[in-house]
């Protein structure tokens, strides 16, 4: 089986690599690109810990082959904060609202919330719950995660209004 050449943009940086076609995107990100923010939870496309943003879609990277992502523009949790290192409003909201306990699901939760708020900047609580229904958290009971996303939505709307 022959390796394939892949080229993609990850967190704004263009990368080129050779890869075995059976490499899953999550393994490529974590092991070849040293981007260990996205986690492997269930490895069966249920838990959402491996969620990354591909071409404007939230995707479970444990269920995508690296070749399928060839040519795409990917944002992982490492690319969410501002270039100067200050936290994104969603990250800050998770911090302020105790939106995590063990933190294992958090990269997936934040990456998913990032896309959700782009598509629907002012979601209701129900819309948030449906919006993150592909992300499992075994600690929080979701209460503070939902609260964090609500807070981030308000913060981002205020910022937009000020601009």
């Amino acid at each position: 089986m022959s390796d394939i050449d892949v080229k993609m943009t990850i967190n704004g940086q263009e990368i080129e690599a050779k890869a075995d076609p059976r490499t899953l995107l999550i393994h490529f990100l974590r092991e070849d690109q040293n981007l260990t923010g996205a986690h492997i939870g269930c490895d069966t496309s249920h838990c959402g810990a491996c969620t990354v943003d591909i071409d404007g879609k939230s995707v479970k990277s444990c269920t995508v082959f690296v070749g399928q992502a060839n040519g795409s523009d990917i944002t992982t949790i490492e690319g969410i904060a501002h270039p100067d290192g200050t936290l994104h409003a969603i990250q800050e909201a998770f911090r302020q609202n105790h939106g995590l306990q063990c933190g294992f699901c958090t990269p997936g939760m934040i990456t998913r919330a990032y896309r959700l708020l782009q598509e629907n900047p002012t979601p209701t609580e129900t819309e948030i719950r449906y919006g993150i229904s592909g992300n499992l958290c075994r600690c929080t009971g979701y209460q503070n995660i939902v609260k964090s996303i609500m807070a981030a939505s308000r913060e981002l709307s205020l910022k937009e209004a000020a601009e």
């Binding site: 076609p21 496309s45 070749g67 399928q68 959700l116 449906y130 229904s133 592909g134």
Partner: protein
């Protein structure tokens, strides 16, 4: 979990894809969104030597509506189906059903073509397509043919699609304006397959049911089109007794497996309830 090794191909036209499938033979498989196939490959229950990815075949990606005729390209994702206002306007059943499939991440990637072609009896769209009397276009080395959704499914993961053929599009007529439809799905949690699910499309004429169609998901080796159950509704006022009788007729053709979703009797029982609820909801939505 690491899948077995394979060579990866990404043709840019349907012709090239069919050519590849012919030349690569039995060991090649088509991948659309991959959210059914890749988990099977990780379990080594699917071991293709070649994967032919259709993502660059632009001709498979459009939703087109002319008059009331709907054509869905096989590579249209569930998310695209959900966000199409034009489609929702004339056939709201599609959005209602698609929103009950898996979760947002899976719907961004999962395609309508994959959902109907795979032949998994737990998939939701096959019964929807049977209810709407859709037909599937299959393209292969010997040209193109059309198969009715009601004739397409032969067993679990076994359909009339031949090796080397690609399901390229789905065609259906939007139900008559004023129709009512509903998809009721009982599942243990978000993202789960149905314990039982029922789709109903019906039209009314002066208070009585003029036409009806009922489809059932995950209650047999194939999706089920409950023809007799629907015929019981036609001509009635959709009163409680008639709805009960139709639900009983639908239940009678089910043959669910006993699994984590419950024993056979329970799943049949839930099937009846889903049919009753879907009829009542479709009725309330019909004009």
């Amino acid at each position: 979990m690491i899948p077995g090794s394979f060579d990866y191909h990404r043709p840019s036209s349907i012709g090239d894809a069919i050519g590849l499938m012919s030349s690569l033979g039995d060991d090649a498989m088509i991948v659309a969104g991959g959210h059914s196939l890749i988990p099977m490959m990780k379990l080594r229950m699917a071991l293709p030597e070649h994967l032919v990815d259709l993502q660059d075949v632009q001709s498979l990606k459009s939703i087109s509506i002319e008059n009331s005729q709907i054509t869905l390209g096989a590579m249209v994702t569930q998310a695209e189906l959900i966000t199409s206002e034009e489609l929702h306007e004339i056939c709201p059943l599609l959005r209602e059903a698609a929103l009950q499939i898996a979760d947002p991440q899976v719907r961004y990637v999962g395609t309508i073509g994959g959902n109907v072609a795979n032949g998994d009896p737990a998939n939701d769209m096959p019964a929807i397509m049977q209810t709407l009397n859709a037909s599937f276009t299959l393209v292969g080395p010997n040209g193109e043919r059309s198969v009715a959704a009601r004739d397409f499914y032969q067993g679990a993961y076994y359909t009339t699609r031949e090796d080397g053929e690609i399901l390229s599009s789905i065609h259906l007529d939007a139900p008559t304006s004023g129709h009512g439809s509903a998809y009721e799905k009982q599942k243990r949690k978000i993202g789960d397959y149905a314990t039982a699910a029922a789709a109903v499309v019906l039209t009314l004429s002066g208070g009585t049911c003029a036409t009806a169609s009922i489809g059932l998901t995950n209650l047999s080796e194939t999706p089920l089109w409950a023809e007799e159950a629907a015929s019981i509704l036609v001509g009635s006022s959709l009163d409680r007794e008639t709805i009960k009788a139709a639900a009983a007729a639908a239940k009678a053709i089910t043959n669910p497996a006993e699994d984590g979703r419950g024993p056979i009797e329970f799943r049949k029982h839930v099937a009846g309830i889903m049919v009753e609820r879907a009829i009542a909801k479709a009725h309330s939505r019909a004009r």
